[in-house]
């Protein structure tokens, strides 16, 4: 019986994801093209080694690890929605918390892939996995990160699939299981980001990272970037499906982002004050980021762009009128996403490593191979997210369940508002 139900879920889901209009298929084709390009680039990298990247001994981590760090933040941000939704039973957000968790699952997939493509010997990945390998726990923070990221993935994956599956089977979900895991996922979201911050924070060799403000700042900026993506996703969802998401919920998220951005800017400012006022040798890295050192100015425009974007986003989200206007709201979300992407990605990794420990300045900028591999990983993440939404949304809408096959395609060139779903061709 159970197996039969599962088989039907499986077959039904397969049918849902293989049905869609031209926009849906175009989107999938676009993602698959990026994935293919990434796979080819990665094959080159496997063949020739990491020499096809711009990384070298002085800057031994680059674009891959920068993206990894940013995406850990996105994954952690699911908690922003989960906390008010479950703890305070704040209605409007509760119905959309599940999308935050889907986003977390997709983001973790990307994180793990970014670490995987960065290592020199992917064939030895299993060396990390006891009992076959050796995990240097608790000494190595990377071992901690491997553990918490995978655990966080599993917890979110179980919650989401259980909720979706129960929706399909039209039965009540297991409250004890879901509540336990949701309560667990909140401290875990904080912990994945804290551990990732500690990964850098613990290195005395790199004074730019060796500041205890790093972990709090990581959390603050994560609570900006993750919800920024969700703001777009939620608007797309309600535009292209009949899923009801109230304005109130979206404004609430934007308001929370304003507070997080304030904290982020404040913590950042505190660090900058300390560096400039004390004016020690350690200032060099901050100066490299904002001013350039010894004729090397590669990061300067990005650093200032991040500052401008972050401040602009804060202003747009703290003023109720611009927060509630969807043009300025979307501008603010885009500014947040870009600003934090710069600040938490290359803006964190590169000044940490430059100048290197013996004072050498190597100007890193990613090669096309790195960009293609990274684009491929983002495409895989979006693909996972799209397919999961494609199944989850009609179930949440009650259109796809054990007794009902997903509704058939609307007629071509459908005149109804919800007939042209790009990312989330959900209920159609």
């Amino acid at each position: 019986m159970r197996f039969r139900l599962f088989a039907r879920f499986f077959v039904g889901s397969a049918r849902v994801v293989t049905r869609g209009n031209a926009l849906y298929w175009g989107w999938l084709a676009f993602l698959l093209l990026l994935v293919a390009s990434g796979v080819l680039a990665y094959a080159d990298q496997l063949d020739a080694g990491l020499s096809v990247t711009a990384m070298r001994d002085p800057v031994s981590w680059g674009f891959y690890i920068g993206n990894f760090t940013f995406l850990v933040g996105v994954a952690a941000a699911a908690v922003v929605l989960v906390i008010p939704a479950y703890i305070y039973k704040w209605g409007p957000i509760r119905e959309i918390a599940i999308f935050g968790e889907l986003l977390a699952v997709s983001a973790i997939v990307m994180c793990l892939l970014f670490v995987f493509v960065d290592i020199g010997r992917p064939d030895r990945f299993w060396h990390l996995l006891p009992p076959f390998g050796i995990l240097n726990f608790p000494s190595s923070l990377l071992a901690w990160d491997v553990l918490v990221l995978n655990l966080y993935f599993v917890v979110n994956f179980i919650v989401v699939t259980h909720l979706v599956y129960c929706g399909f089977a039209r039965r009540d979900y297991n409250h004890r299981l879901v509540w336990t895991l949701v309560l667990l996922s909140i401290p875990m979201a904080v912990s994945i980001h804290t551990v990732t911050a500690f990964l850098y924070n613990g290195l005395a060799a790199r004074p730019y990272w060796n500041a205890s403000i790093l972990a709090p700042q990581f959390l603050a900026s994560a609570f900006c970037s993750g919800p920024a993506i969700l703001l777009f996703v939620l608007q797309l969802l309600r535009r292209f499906t009949s899923f009801r998401i109230r304005d109130e919920a979206i404004w609430k998220i934007a308001e929370l982002m304003a507070y997080a951005m304030f904290l982020n800017l404040f913590l950042h400012g505190a660090e900058i004050f300390k560096e400039y006022y004390s004016d020690t040798h350690h200032l060099l890295h901050t100066r490299y980021l904002y001013e350039g050192v010894g004729g090397h100015h590669a990061l300067q425009p990005y650093a200032w762009a991040a500052v401008v974007l972050n401040v602009a986003a804060f202003v747009l989200f703290i003023i109720p009128r611009t927060r509630r206007n969807f043009v300025t709201l979307n501008l603010g979300a885009a500014a947040t996403y870009l600003g934090v992407y710069i600040e938490k990605g290359m803006g964190l990794i590169l000044p940490g490593l430059t100048p290197d420990t013996l004072g050498e300045i190597y100007s890193y900028s990613p090669t096309w191979t790195e960009i293609r591999v990274a684009a491929g990983i983002f495409a895989i993440g979006f693909l996972v997210f799209t397919l999961m939404l494609k199944v989850a949304v009609p179930i949440a809408l009650g259109r796809f369940h054990v007794d009902a096959d997903p509704a058939p395609e609307p007629r071509a060139g459908g005149s109804e508002a919800e007939a042209v779903p790009p990312v989330t061709a959900a209920g159609t």
Binding site: A48, G49, L50, S51, T53, M55, R56, D57, P58, S60, W61, V115, D118, I119, G120, R121, R124, F125, W126, H127, L128, P131, F132, G133, I134, L135, N136, S139, S140, L141, L142, A143, V146, L199, Y200, G202, L203, A204, A205, R206, H281, L284, G352, L353, P355, D356, T357, L358, G359, E360
Partner: protein, 292 residues
């Protein structure tokens, strides 16, 4: 330092062996990868012989591959006389030849930094790529930097798979067959002492030094980290590291820190000694001093 996992692992092997029965227990070591140090003696010997044969076949030359262990009562230490060093970089290239570093692309385990005498030791203004017609240059002095063989090593602490550790004689080594190439150790090292094989190391058969050590100068694969080992293949046989022998001005001193009569102990006890980045508490076994 991390705890020695040998006991835990041999216990795991027993458990797995017992569970899987006699046949599986016999097969297990060959299908579960391990660091050489985790293997029972006879098995380690077999793996070493296999690696030796592979290296011989690859380079078409006679080679010896040793895994000679640390001698009891020995902890190696190094002292470098900053007042003598003339910045000729002979140590750099002697090291490359002895330790089979990649020639194309070039990997150097020693980096010599030219510094301005007026500034003193100041890494921010150091120049690693000085290229005058003759050394030493007026107004400059030279600070060669290589692995400082820290007692409180940040690099071994961060390795996620324990592919790098400190040996009983104080040498920090890498098992090139266990390293996954994550480069966390490179981020952690305050001395830029760790180097990564970004591409397949370029080493011709004619350039190969055939006296190899498993944890030292054996040819490395692509995608792993390598570093100075105080020439483990030489020093464990009572010889000097190649850089000590190559130095034309006798600026480099090497010996057993536990031997009160050793030259390196004399230097520490009688000269003005300094430690690079002392504030980081890495406790190097590499000491800089002013001999004159």
């Amino acid at each position: 330092m991390c705890g020695d996992p040998t006991d835990r692992r041999s216990f795991l092997r027993q458990v797995a062996g017992a569970a899987a029965g006699g046949v599986a227990a016999g097969l297990l070591p060959s299908c579960v990868g391990e660091r050489l140090r985790d293997l029972p003696r006879d098995e380690a010997r077999r793996r070493l012989a296999r690696l030796e044969a592979e290296t011989r076949a690859r380079f078409g030359r006679e080679v010896t591959l040793s895994a000679q262990e640390a001698q009891p009562g020995v902890v190696f230490g190094y002292a470098l006389d900053l007042s003598r060093c003339i910045g000729c970089r002979r140590c750099v290239y002697a090291c490359v030849e002895e330790n089979n570093q990649s020639r194309e692309p070039q990997i150097h385990w020693i980096k010599v930094l030219a510094m301005d005498k007026r500034r003193g030791i100041d890494l921010v203004h150091a120049d690693a790529y000085y290229n005058p017609p003759a050394v030493p240059e007026d107004g400059r002095f030279y600070v060669p930097v290589q692995c400082q063989q820290c007692d409180n090593a940040p690099c071994t602490k961060v390795c996620p798979v324990r592919a790098t550790w400190q040996e009983p004689d104080g040498i920090v080594v890498v098992d090139y067959d266990w390293c996954i190439g994550c480069r966390y150790c490179m981020a952690a090292c305050p001395y830029g002492a760790r180097h990564f094989n970004w591409s397949e190391p370029g080493l011709r058969a004619a350039e190969l030094n055939p006296a190899l050590h498993y944890l030292g100068n054996r040819p490395r694969p692509m995608g792993v980290v390598e570093k100075c080992t105080f020439c483990i293949q030489r020093t464990r046989q009572g010889r000097y590291p190649a850089c000590v022998e190559a130095c034309p001005v006798g600026a480099r001193k090497f010996g057993n820190l536990l031997d009160p009569g050793s030259e390196v102990r004399y230097v520490i006890e009688h000269k003005r000694v300094l430690i690079l980045k002392e504030e980081l508490n890495t406790m190097p076994k590499f000491f800089y001093f002013y001999g004159t």
